[in-house]
């Protein structure tokens, strides 16, 4: 089917050229390789997730600046690097490179999903505690974006046919402000929450980039296939 239209084209006949072009355009949706746009697999959604991750990285920089200033010194000092004291419940993004390499896509995506689920929950708690309206707005906006990222990851997982991790009942992270947690430890947690978020976003970007590259070869093959037919 895709081999007859070069014969129809008559370069010396402009009307023929036009007719040929119209015909090509008309039949373009019918080309099987191009017709895969609706069923391109997880590629575009991975790209979107990657883009969203980068966007969130950017957004977090602005939010962290505001929030760390709100926490006051020494949290807003650039070289402040406290030990991770109370923030034990936060999912850690840092992982040994070898370990990371040994993870498969499903595991990586699952870890991402779980991490952001937890982080989102903590972030919402942060929002409830913030004292200024402006900070609350910024946090709410970021939460919405993070919710979007979570949805994107879920989308990618669904596209790849991985099941979403089900939270075990009773392990839902909860925000428990109270006397058990002093204000200082709370601030440390907030600091670490932002820091972990940053690391996770960085890691996710890496994950999705890797996944994206992994998913690319079939699309390249299609282009190659079309090129062989005279495009």
């Amino acid at each position: 089917m895709d081999s007859w239209y070069p014969r129809m084209a008559k370069p010396w006949d402009s009307w023929g050229m036009l007719a040929c072009l119209c015909t090509v355009l008309w039949h373009l949706p019918a080309v099987p390789a191009l017709n895969r746009t609706g069923d391109l697999g997880p590629g575009p959604s991975i790209q979107k997730t990657y883009d969203l991750t980068r966007y969130l990285e950017h957004q977090l920089r602005s939010l962290a600046g505001t929030y760390l200033n709100y926490l006051g010194p020494p949290f807003n000092e650039p070289d402040f690097n406290p030990p991770r004291l109370g923030a034990e419940t936060l999912p850690r993004a840092t992982v040994d490179l070898e370990v990371w390499r040994s993870l498969n896509d499903k595991l990586r995506l699952t870890q991402n999903y779980e991490a952001y689920s937890h982080l989102l929950c903590y972030l919402r708690g942060l929002n409830r505690q913030a004292a200024t309206a402006e900070l609350r707005r910024s946090l709410a906006h970021f939460c919405t974006s993070l919710q979007g990222l979570l949805g994107s990851i879920a989308g990618v997982m669904a596209a790849l046919g991985y099941p979403l991790p089900q939270p075990l009942p009773g392990t839902e992270p909860t925000w428990t402000p109270g006397p058990a947690h002093s204000d200082f430890l709370q601030k440390m947690d907030d600091f670490w929450l932002l820091k972990e978020l940053q690391t996770w976003l960085w890691r996710s970007a890496k994950d999705f980039n890797r996944l994206k590259k992994k998913m690319q070869p079939p699309a390249a093959a299609v282009t190659l296939h079309l090129g062989a037919h005279g495009f």
């Binding site: 949290f75 004292a131 002093s182």
Partner: protein
């Protein structure tokens, strides 16, 4: 008591001594005579020693009796046993002055019931193996010490959150029989080294019972930071006890310490403190603390037990919204706490409560100074209503803003008066404000909504609106703003009963029909508190009504007198009551009726052919609702013969017309007016004035200054109009814009007849008040003065105020002379432009003949008379002038040397040669260049008379002296410069150039330029031919130019035409001599210039020029 026992003891000792001494003294007295003194003294000493030893062994008893009490009921007395007593010693203690009770005991102390006041003798007899000894003591309460029992701390506890120690102990008051004051001394010690932190005294009273006492102390340092110890002791200050009151021993130490868990902690945690206070933070740590920071500030460490450290912050400043962080850093960790420094809540300011709807009360206030605390530490406001006991609470988590705070309190049924207390409280304190309100007086209604307008009729509408709220029990006061046009605005207040369903309806009347109103409404309550905001504006056009009046009507007969033109004015909007669609006009007489109907609106004029009968014309205006009442006017004109045309001048914009009251005039006066230049029938406008008035001011935007209007005053009687007055007038007069056109009708040798024409009314621009006629000698195209200055001797002016005069004869003129005639008209608005003309009178031949004949006749007569006289007096003349001279030749007496007389000329008598007089007066001759005046060269006398007689008969004084000087200077320029000191003195220069009698003046007529009045004194100077010539000459001299205005210089030359400078009538010479002399003294460099030759610049030259001219 003890003293007593001691003296007893001494007395006993003395007794023994005396017993021993007596025999020895007797022995000594026996041996005195036989033994030496030394032996005697030694033996006495030994004896005394032995006696003492014996006595001490026999008499020593219990001593040092000491009594104390701890409860004032029992005295515990103890004494010291005599030396050498062994265990088995018994004591018998007897207390005298009492019921002589004795106690036998083996101890050296005894507890006796407290003795009442007074001295008591205590006898203690110690019974031992080798005998007994007795001691006596006197015992008094004053010698007893009150030493309370050592107190014991029952409990020492701590509240670590508040860093407070709580101490509990028992005063054991039950053992004391009386009420007594107890002074407690409490000591707080800190750290392992037990540093004293606090020492306080605490007073209580004993009340006969065992009482528990509490004492608390807030530590400046958190109790977790270090171990704290507490001790206590007491002293009883009993009024019933006169003995010594001494402190008890310190109680056993109790301590409080915090048992640290494995984690390092910083204290206090999350504390809220007042700004400006001091606070101590500590870090209880097992590791070495390196540094401590509060905010950005590094703090010096205070070392506590172990590795724990503390920092002390003085005068802490207000915290940021997330608190101030305090951070301790160890080798590989950081620990911290957050402190919140803020203020207690300020008293709520401007607390005010009002309601919008009588359903909910809104109390608002200003929080005052910010507390600096947010979130869980923010101020909580509680609005408490004391009558109902209800309250609402308000908490704001956000950082405070400047806006006021609000709380909503649901109104209670049947309660009008509310007593609100607003309590503000935060961790640092609380404050409150109260307000008592009658809520029905504090109604600030919502903005009325759904504002609608509906027609009732052309002058009334209903207004409806929605005002949410339950106002059933009160009346509302609403204000309706009625705006008719942009400027006219009215406000009406209406009181309406409040309703529950929030819908209100009110009728608004007294409106004008067919008028566009802009309405809006706002409401308050009768007990006014605040107006609500204005509702939205609503525009409403009221419906039409029939026109309230007929149009203002006038009529005019057409110029041919056959048609009657009916005019009417459009009805003003307030009378039209709608859009006027058409007019109906009808003319009815007794015989017939003619009518024109449905004349569409923009047309306000109708013409009907009528005969000269009397008609009543009626005009009716119609709108969509109906017709106006007809306005009627009679066509009849009542003739009036004695009419004069009057003149009137208005004032600015209008014209005032007055007339006398005429009782015959029964209906209105009518004044109509039109532009007088328009053709009849001319009607610009008219005005009706009530019959009782006698004046009116006619004003119209159409009036223009300088335009003549005709005004006609009509009186009305018997339904007919009579023209009463005809008036022409101007609202403002202006000067004529054209000059009268005039011609010379006749010219004779001594008179001119001038005739002129009227100026058209349009160009006159005012009422003509007269003409000004100027005439004087003058020629066309000469540079003589052009200004007609009245009063100038040469110019004659005639003011012609008789308007009917159209000609003027000017007599007494010179023959064959050019005259300049000028005519201009004037009004009250000013002078018109001028028109000029030059006329030459005819030659007077008779005069010429007479002028020749008379001198000839006179000369002849003089000659004849002289001849006669000479003839008659010839003898006398001869005698006088030519007496006979005797001939010497005939004289014999003198007949010597005849030959000499005859042959030599030297011997001649005086030869009478004619002598030429010299008219040159050289006031100073120059020694350097003596010059012999050649009088013949200059001979001014020979030249001047002609000139003088010709042109300047009156200027004859010294002119003749100047030219020679100038003549002298010019030919010797080099000598002049070399000499330097040449001085030329002009005699009386000013008098020489005195302003001359008015010369002939040249006047240029400028009919175009002189539209308005021109000041006669200000005319431009016109250069004459001579001026131009002189200027040209001057231009040719290239060298130095005088800085003075050459024109000025020229002007002063005697023959130059007299110019009137705009600044000065008489031209002033600043320094005429120097200017003129310099001008002349410097020779022109251009040798080729014809004028530069000697004499070219002399005055004579000017005269020559003049003569040439």
């Amino acid at each position: 008591m003890l003293y007593r026992s001691l003296t007893d003891c001494i007395a006993q000792t003395m007794d023994i001594y005396l017993c021993l001494k007596r025999p020895s003294w007797m022995v000594a007295s026996k041996r005195m005579r036989t033994a030496s003194n030394f032996q005697w003294l030694l033996s006495i000493f030994i004896l005394l020693y032995l006696m003492n030893q014996v006595n001490s062994q026999k008499k020593e008893g219990p001593h040092d009796l000491k009594c104390v009490t701890n409860n004032l009921q029992v005295w515990d007395c103890s004494w010291k046993a005599p030396s050498g007593t062994s265990r088995g010693t018994n004591y018998e203690v007897c207390i005298e002055n009492r019921s002589h009770s004795c106690y036998r005991l083996e101890k050296t102390n005894i507890k006796i019931p407290a003795l009442s006041h007074g001295d008591y003798e205590i006898i203690i007899n110690s019974l031992h193996d080798f005998g007994s000894s007795t001691s006596k003591f006197t015992l008094n309460e004053k010698n007893v010490s009150l030493i309370p029992d050592t107190p014991e701390i029952l409990n020492l506890s701590a509240d670590f959150s508040t860093s407070t120690l709580y101490l509990k102990w028992n005063d054991r008051g039950s053992v004391f029989p009386h009420h007594s004051n107890v002074i407690w001394e409490i000591k707080v010690l800190r750290k392992g080294s037990m540093e004293l932190v606090k020492l306080v005294t605490h007073n209580t009273t004993l009340n006969g019972k065992d009482t528990l006492h509490h004492w608390s102390w807030a530590s400046d340092m958190p109790l977790e930071c270090a171990i704290h110890f507490v001790e206590i002791r007491c002293r009883i200050d009993s009024l019933h006890f006169s003995g010594r009151k001494e402190w008890s021993d310190w109680s056993p130490v109790k301590n409080i310490s915090w048992t640290p868990d494995s984690q390092t902690k910083v204290f206090p945690q999350d504390k809220v403190i007042l700004v400006g206070s001091d606070i101590t933070f500590c870090c209880v740590s097992q590791e070495k603390v390196l540094s401590a920071l509060i905010g950005h500030t590094n703090c010096p460490l205070i070392h506590l037990d172990g590795e724990s450290v503390a920092i002390k912050i003085h005068n802490i400043s207000v915290s940021a919204s997330s608190g101030t962080n305090v951070v301790f850093t160890t080798e590989d960790n950081i620990f911290g706490t957050v402190v919140f420094a803020g203020y207690p809540p300020d008293t709520p300011q401007q607390l005010d409560c009002e309601t919008h709807d009588l359903k909910e009360i809104i109390c608002s206030w200003n929080p005052g100074r910010s507390t600096g605390l947010v979130g869980p530490r923010a101020t909580i406001y509680t609005l408490y209503e004391s009558f109902s006991g209800k309250y609402v609470r308000y908490k704001r988590d956000e950082a405070p803003t400047n806006e006021s705070y609000q709380l909503f309190f649901q109104m209670l049924p049947n309660q009008q008066i509310y007593n609100f207390t607003l309590n503000a409280h935060n961790p640092l304190g609380q404050s409150e404000s109260t307000i008592l309100v009658n809520i029905t007086e504090k109604v600030y209604p919502h903005t009325p909504t759904s504002f609608k307008v509906k027609d009732i009729n052309s002058t009334a509408v209903t207004l409806s609106w929605h005002l949410p709220g339950n106002f059933a029990k009160i009346n509302l006061l609403c204000q309706i703003e009625i705006k008719k046009s942009k400027s006219v605005q009215e406000q009406r207040n209406v009181t309406i009963k409040g309703v529950e369903n929030s819908s209100y309806l009110v009728a608004l009347d007294k409106l004008n029909p067919y008028t566009l109103y802009t309405l809006r409404i706002r409401c308050s309550t009768e007990a006014f508190w605040k107006w609500s905001k204005w509702s939205n504006k609503k525009q409403h056009l009221t419906t039409e009504a029939i026109p309230s009046k007929g149009p203002d009507t006038w009529r005019e007969w057409s110029s041919d007198g056959k048609n009657l033109i009916i005019y009417w004015k459009p009805l003003p909007i307030n009378e039209a009551n709608g859009k006027i669609l058409s007019y109906n006009v009808s003319c009815s007489s007794d015989e017939e009726t003619q009518s024109l109907s449905e004349i569409p609106d923009p047309q306000h004029k109708a013409e009907i052919r009528l005969d000269k009968n009397d008609y009543i014309i009626s005009v009716v205006a119609k709108n969509s609702v109906g017709s106006s009442p007809p306005s009627k006017i009679a066509s009849m004109e009542i003739p009036n013969d004695d009419l004069e045309i009057e003149q009137v001048v208005g004032m600015g914009k209008g014209i005032l017309l007055t007339w006398h009251y005429d009782p015959n005039m029964t209906c209105d006066y009518v004044i109509k007016w039109c532009n007088s230049s328009r053709l009849e029938p001319c009607l610009m406008d008219w005005r009706k004035v009530p019959s009782n008035s006698t004046e009116t001011v006619i004003e119209s935007d159409q009036f223009r200054p300088g335009v003549r209007y005709n005004f006609f005053l009509y009186g009305c009687r018997n339904q007919g109009y009579q023209l009463l007055r005809t008036i022409i007038g101007y609202v403002e007069e202006l000067a004529p814009i054209v000059a009268p056109n005039f011609t010379v009708e006749d010219t004779s040798a001594d008179s001119i007849l001038v005739k002129w024409e009227d100026i058209p009314v349009e160009e006159l621009r005012g009422f003509l008040r007269g003409y000004l006629f100027y005439f004087g000698k003058g020629e066309r195209d000469t540079s003589k003065m052009r200004v007609l200055v009245s009063g100038h001797s040469d110019i004659k002016v005639k003011n012609i105020t008789d308007m009917s005069q159209k000609t003027l004869r000017i007599a007494d003129l010179q023959g064959k002379t050019s005259y300049h005639l000028v005519l201009r008209a004037y009004t009250d608005g000013g002078m018109g432009p001028e028109k000029s003309m030059y006329v030459v009178t005819k030659e007077n031949s008779v005069g010429l003949i007479i002028a020749i004949l008379i001198p000839v006749a006179v000369a002849v007569i003089v000659g004849v008379v002289t001849s006669i006289l000479c003839y008659r007096k010839r003898e006398w003349i001869k005698e006088t002038f030519y007496p006979d001279i005797p001939n010497p030749e005939n004289c014999k007496a003198l007949q010597f040397q005849k030959s000499v007389c005859e042959g030599s000329n030297a011997l001649k008598t005086l030869e009478m040669n004619p002598c030429t007089p010299n008219n040159v007066e050289v006031l100073e001759t120059r020694s350097a260049f003596p010059k012999i005046e050649d009088t013949e060269i200059i001979s001014p006398v020979a030249e001047r008379p002609e000139d003088r007689s010709d042109a300047e008969p009156e200027n004859h004084v010294v002119v003749s002296y100047c030219p020679p000087i100038i003549e002298e200077e010019i030919p010797n320029p080099a000598a002049d410069e070399a000499g330097g000191a040449a001085q030329v003195i002009y005699i009386d220069v000013q008098s020489m150039y005195q302003p001359q009698a008015k010369p002939e003046e040249e006047q240029e007529n400028n009919p175009v330029g002189g539209a308005g009045y021109k000041p006669q004194m200000h005319l431009p100077i016109n250069s004459t031919v001579e001026d131009i010539a002189a200027e040209e000459d001057l231009d040719k001299t290239v060298g130095y130019r005088p800085q003075a205005n050459v024109n000025t210089w020229n002007l002063v030359s005697p023959d130059s035409p007299r110019s009137i400078d705009s600044n000065s009538e008489i031209v002033s010479f600043g320094s005429p001599c120097s200017i003129n002399s310099r001008q002349f003294l410097i020779p022109p460099k251009d040798e080729d210039s014809p004028k530069s030759n000697g004499g070219g610049w002399s005055f004579t030259n000017f005269f020559q020029n003049k003569s040439n001219d």
